[in-house]
């Protein structure tokens, strides 16, 4: 192991330090240990720019207290890595992958670079296996598929953590039960972290939980590493140990903010709302690490949670996320206000992989057309509601009134369910047929004539 120490740094700006004359020993993105004068503690850093004359290092836990002339920097000869072994299951780590549960270090296994490499698209298997979550709105209208990346777009104060826990604890991966959860908390509150870890370990049907936690008061720069640690662990568990892994990452907004902070500190030209131009590529390097690999047992399913600043879905964070992920589950403040849980706004929510994972042989033959009909009819409800807002409900035509009644039923019976209620998919679909049968037949343009005959009496 190289033990050369470089003494003295020439510049300190924000989280960055600049070294001269490091020469040709260092490599791009190599990790370093920065020794603080007068202390035995070291801080971890990473080389972010390298040239013959100068080396720019980003220090993870900040640069407070560094004295330029006395600071020592040592090259570690490796990139950011995470320890992988079967014994990580059940453990809790901090945002840099160091154990925080008091059970000592992880022994055995190997260390792996946590940046991951792009998966060859030819190695992928197209995800088709339906995950039964027991939540009507998700199973019927935004079906979660094994190997999918399906984020929850939420807002502050909405029950996204509750929903994530309900999905994680109720998820049944049709067929195999080799199930594990990897939980990455990025800049989350102590209370949220406590709630999520407790619910996951107590209510879940599995004890296979691995946790990486960067709390709100932990160093911001570490947030860049946290999801990468978690995803590397998830890939290891999926493709080497054969688990079907559900990765819950919360809150992606904190991650993006950390990226912005770093970009600004490095003096980069900002793009929309001050976020760097490479935010898309950067987010993609995380989200694309979901999937199913041909010939390997397991799969990685991602359920990232992000809180939309001001509930604005066009904000760069949800916007770029939506362009990368395979759909989104959007929570609505309006539904939440009406007391409907889960407050999923089904019209703006979407599961792109749903088309291949539902229907005959997966869920039920009538599922695709029925889902399409529910979308069409519920979308019409919104038009009628805005009309009713202008002319008053009494002035509406008979069909419009039927539409309103349908809307109420849809929200209060179909969408609404208990926090621990696990509904069978067949039951959800039958419920949906009952509700749409209240609409005039001429409105049912999405379901086929045969399906109408089979499912609607008279």
């Amino acid at each position: 192991m190289p033990q050369t120490e470089y003494v003295g740094i020439s510049q300190v700006t924000g989280p960055f330090i600049l070294l001269e004359n490091m020469g040709r020993d260092a490599f791009y993105e190599e990790l370093v240990d920065v020794r603080v004068p007068g202390s035995n503690k070291t801080r971890r850093g990473r080389i972010v720019s390298l040239s013959e004359k100068a080396t720019l290092i980003q220090v993870f836990s900040g640069t407070d207290g560094l004295i330029p002339n006395e600071t020592r920097v040592r090259l570690l000869g490796r990139t950011l890595q995470v320890q992988l072994a079967p014994s990580i299951i059940g453990r809790t780590f901090n945002g840099l992958g160091e154990p925080t549960d008091g059970c000592g270090p992880v022994f055995g296994g190997r260390r792996a670079d946590c940046n991951g490499m792009p998966l060859n698209p030819m190695a992928r298997q197209y995800p088709r296996d339906f995950i039964h979550t027991g939540i009507s709105s998700i199973d019927t209208l935004t079906t979660l598929i094994r190997g999918q990346k399906l984020p929850i777009f939420s807002g502050n104060g909405l029950p996204h953590n509750q929903l994530a826990v309900q999905i994680a604890t109720q998820a049944r991966l049709m067929g195999s039960e080799n199930f594990a959860v990897v939980f990455a908390g990025i800049g989350i509150k102590h209370d949220d972290a406590e709630f999520l870890t407790r619910e996951l370990s107590e209510k879940g049907r599995t004890n296979n939980v691995v946790t990486y936690l960067n709390l709100a008061d932990d160093p911001v720069i570490e947030r860049i590493a946290t999801p990468r640690m978690a995803l590397t662990a998830a890939e290891y568990m999926a493709y080497e140990l054969g688990f079907h892994v559900l990765v819950i990452i919360t809150d992606m907004t904190s991650y993006c903010e950390a990226i912005r902070e770093l970009g600004v500190a490095a003096g980069e030209v900002p793009s929309r709302k001050g976020y760097p131009a490479y935010l898309y590529s950067d987010l993609a390097s995380l989200y694309e690490r979901a999937g199913v690999v041909r010939g390997r047992g397991g799969s990685v399913t991602q359920l990232p949670i992000l809180t939309m600043p001001n509930d604005d879905i066009t904000h760069p964070i949800p916007d770029l996320t939506g362009f990368i992920t395979e759909g989104q589950i959007v929570l609505s403040r309006e539904l939440d206000g009406k007391g409907i849980y889960p407050p999923i706004d089904v019209l703006t929510s979407l599961s792109r992989l749903m088309k291949d994972g539902i229907g005959k042989g997966f869920t039920r033959e009538d599922h695709p057309d029925l889902a399409s009909q529910l979308f069409a009819s519920y979308s019409h409800v919104q038009d009628v509601r805005s009309l009713a807002g202008v002319v008053g409900e009494d002035e509406l035509s008979k069909t419009d009134k039927q539409s309103l009644a349908f809307g109420e039923m849809f929200e209060n019976k179909f969408l609404k369910q208990g926090r621990y209620e696990d509904r069978e998919i067949g039951h959800s679909l039958d419920m949906a047929w009952d509700i749409i049968s209240t609409l005039p037949r001429g409105d049912l343009t999405r379901v086929s004539l045969d399906e109408i005959k089979a499912h609607i009496k008279n």
Binding site: S51, M117, L119, N120
Partner: protein
């Protein structure tokens, strides 16, 4: 000459190098101990700036750089069809065999394996005088494609030797040609071509023939011509990719080049799993036999994303030069523009709008102008048509990429968020979209489908437009207060939207030949015309539309195109209903008198 440079600075995909004065601008170079592929994009004395197509993590200052002697190029020859390449033309299948499930930096593998054998039939003989574009031979590459081996642009002279009928390897030669200087030149089966240089042709043609896509809203309302250029902009979740896939599946093209540029890995896998099993509706052969895939997924290196578009269009032009109609799908051009922006930012160039470099519009123009219907060098008609998806941030069509793209395309299929939310697919907005080819290709449809094609198209557009105005009134006061003739327009528009414009991406309705679309439209217009007569006679709208015969118009699309009897039955049912309603009314009037 032993040309070696050294890495002097590393900043993500952009590196600086010294000792580079003997290298050429835009030359492809091999960088560092990992042997990464890069391209020189700026030269300043001894110093060069290089964009590296692979991940630079782990690279050190002082590592060596060697030149390749050519600009970024692709191999063109038999063996491309059915292939799946990354942005710089490396076949992903051999990378998978060599490197495993992850793409590691520095992997090197030829685009077409040189030892692959092909059955070549010579089409010229020794002694023939040939020049660029001459047909030398053919290879039946797949069941769907006869690969024509054409003399490359820079070769001219007398054939001294040509391969006999039989096997030639991809790395072999098909002919020897003696040029004017008396030098003998080998004509290889697989040629190289620099991707940033458009391939030559003789003459451009007017885009007067439509490219039938099998999508009703496109063929019927906003048609695209062979050699045309179209853009599909839409926010996330509006169905850009599904529409692109539909076009790749059912378009009438001979060859389809599909570029997944900065998009999802699973989408490429989807194509890869579906196309070998889906059948071409015209020949019944697997679609993969005419498809070439190029992928730089969003987690693959960004510099190769910039190159992927050029790799794709060069391959498309190569097949065009054989006299074929080629479709090129680029999903998404916004990611390509963002790759330009990212590289530009690393080069510390002064940004123009929203951080994009000032040369964005000229790059877009260069790309879209490589579409066209032409007389090729071999004297045949060939075309490349481009369909570029655009992903505007926040679904805002006024952003630079959408705005500049609109300047260089003639067909605009705007995707509408509200339609997508109501799961009306394809979510192509009938109000925002346009096609400048519509009038040019009308004659073809009138000759080949029905003489009333243009007339019907005008009528439908008028109804949709009027309905939009009526909708605004409905939103304010409700539908009941409208006069019956307006309610009829409203209802006819409802039938058009639900029975005609909507089309499932799966099942029998996925491909809808123009004849089927016309039949549906004809029925809706018949209902409208006859309904209007009845309304004028005072028949209430509720009677006119209150029947299964009318409501079932929205289910016509469930029938297969060949099922003529079902269409006839539905038409008869509709006529009977309208006759009955009309007759009852006349009787009532009689009794009142």
């Amino acid at each position: 000459m032993n040309r070696i440079g050294f890495v002097s600075m590393i900043n993500g995909p952009v590196i600086h190098a010294s000792g580079m004065k003997d290298f050429a601008m835009r030359e492809m170079v091999h960088v560092g101990d990992m042997n990464l592929l890069g391209e020189i994009i700026r030269m300043d004395g001894d110093e060069a700036t290089i964009q590296v197509y692979e991940e630079t993590r782990g690279m050190k200052v002082g590592e060596k750089i060697t030149g390749s002697g050519e600009a970024l190029s692709v191999s063109l020859g038999p063996g491309l069809i059915g292939g799946f390449f990354d942005g710089i033309g490396r076949p992903l299948s051999s990378l998978l065999d060599k490197e495993g499930i992850y793409i590691s930096p520095g992997a090197e593998t030829p685009m077409i394996p040189p030892d692959k054998m092909w059955d070549v039939t010579p089409e010229a003989k020794a002694g023939d005088m040939i020049s660029s574009g001459a047909l030398l031979g053919t290879v039946q590459e797949t069941g769907l494609l006869l690969h024509r081996i054409i003399c490359p642009p820079d070769i001219e002279g007398e054939i001294t030797w040509i391969t006999p009928q039989g096997k030639v390897s991809s790395g072999g030669i098909v002919a020897k040609v003696k040029n004017a200087l008396g030098r003998e030149i080998d004509v290889p089966l697989t040629q190289r071509w620099p991707v940033r240089t458009p391939r030559p042709y003789r003459q451009r043609l007017r885009p007067s023939e439509p490219l039938v896509t099998g999508q009703r809203v496109i063929d019927g309302l906003f048609p695209i011509a062979k050699g045309g250029a179209a853009a599909i902009p839409g926010g996330f979740g509006t169905g850009k990719t599904v529409t692109q896939h539909q076009l790749a599946k059912w378009s009438e093209a001979k060859v389809v080049v599909y570029i997944g540029c900065g998009e999802r890995g699973n989408e490429m896998t989807d194509v890869l799993e579906q196309f070998p099993v889906l059948e071409d509706p015209r020949s019944g052969r697997p679609l993969m036999e005419r498809t070439i895939l190029i992928a730089n997924t969003s987690n693959m290196p960004v510099a190769a994303r910039e190159a992927s578009i050029y790799t794709g269009i060069t391959i498309a032009e190569y097949f065009r030069d054989m006299g074929y109609d080629v479709a090129l799908m680029a999903d998404s051009t916004s990611r390509w523009a963002e790759a330009l922006r990212e590289i530009s930012g690393r080069l510390e160039e002064i940004p123009a709008e929203e951080g994009f470099p000032a040369y964005l519009p000229s790059r877009l123009a260069e790309f879209y102008e490589r579409a066209g219907r032409v007389v090729t060098q071999c004297g045949e008609n060939g075309s490349v048509y481009i369909i570029g998806a655009v992903s505007p941030p926040g679904g805002d069509f006024t952003e630079p990429v959408t705005r500049h793209t609109k300047r260089f395309i003639r067909c605009f299929w705007g995707l509408d968020k509200n339609l997508a939310n109501a799961r009306h697919f394809p979510a192509i907005s009938w109000l925002e979209s346009y096609s400048e080819y519509a009038s040019e290709v009308e004659a073809w449809f009138q000759g080949n489908v029905d003489p009333r094609w243009g007339e019907l198209r005008e009528k439908v557009r008028a109804i949709l437009l009027e309905d939009e105005k009526i909708q605004q009134v409905i939103r304010l006061v409700g539908e009941d207060v409208l006069p019956d003739d307006q309610r009829l327009v409203n209802y006819a528009a409802f039938l058009v939207k639900n029975g005609y414009l909507q089309q499932a991406a799966f099942g029998s309705d996925s491909y809808s030949p123009p004849e089927k679309g016309f039949a549906i439209l004809d029925m809706i217009m018949r209902f409208y015309d006859r309904g209007l007569e009845l309304v004028r006679k005072g028949v209430p709208i509720s009677l006119i539309k209150g029947s299964d015969a009318v409501e079932d118009i929205t289910h016509l699309r469930e029938f297969s195109a060949d099922d003529k009897s079902s269409f006839e039955r539905a038409l008869k049912k509709l006529d009977n209903h309208l006759n009955r309603v009309g007759a009852e009314r006349t009787r009532e009037e009689g009794s009142v008198k």
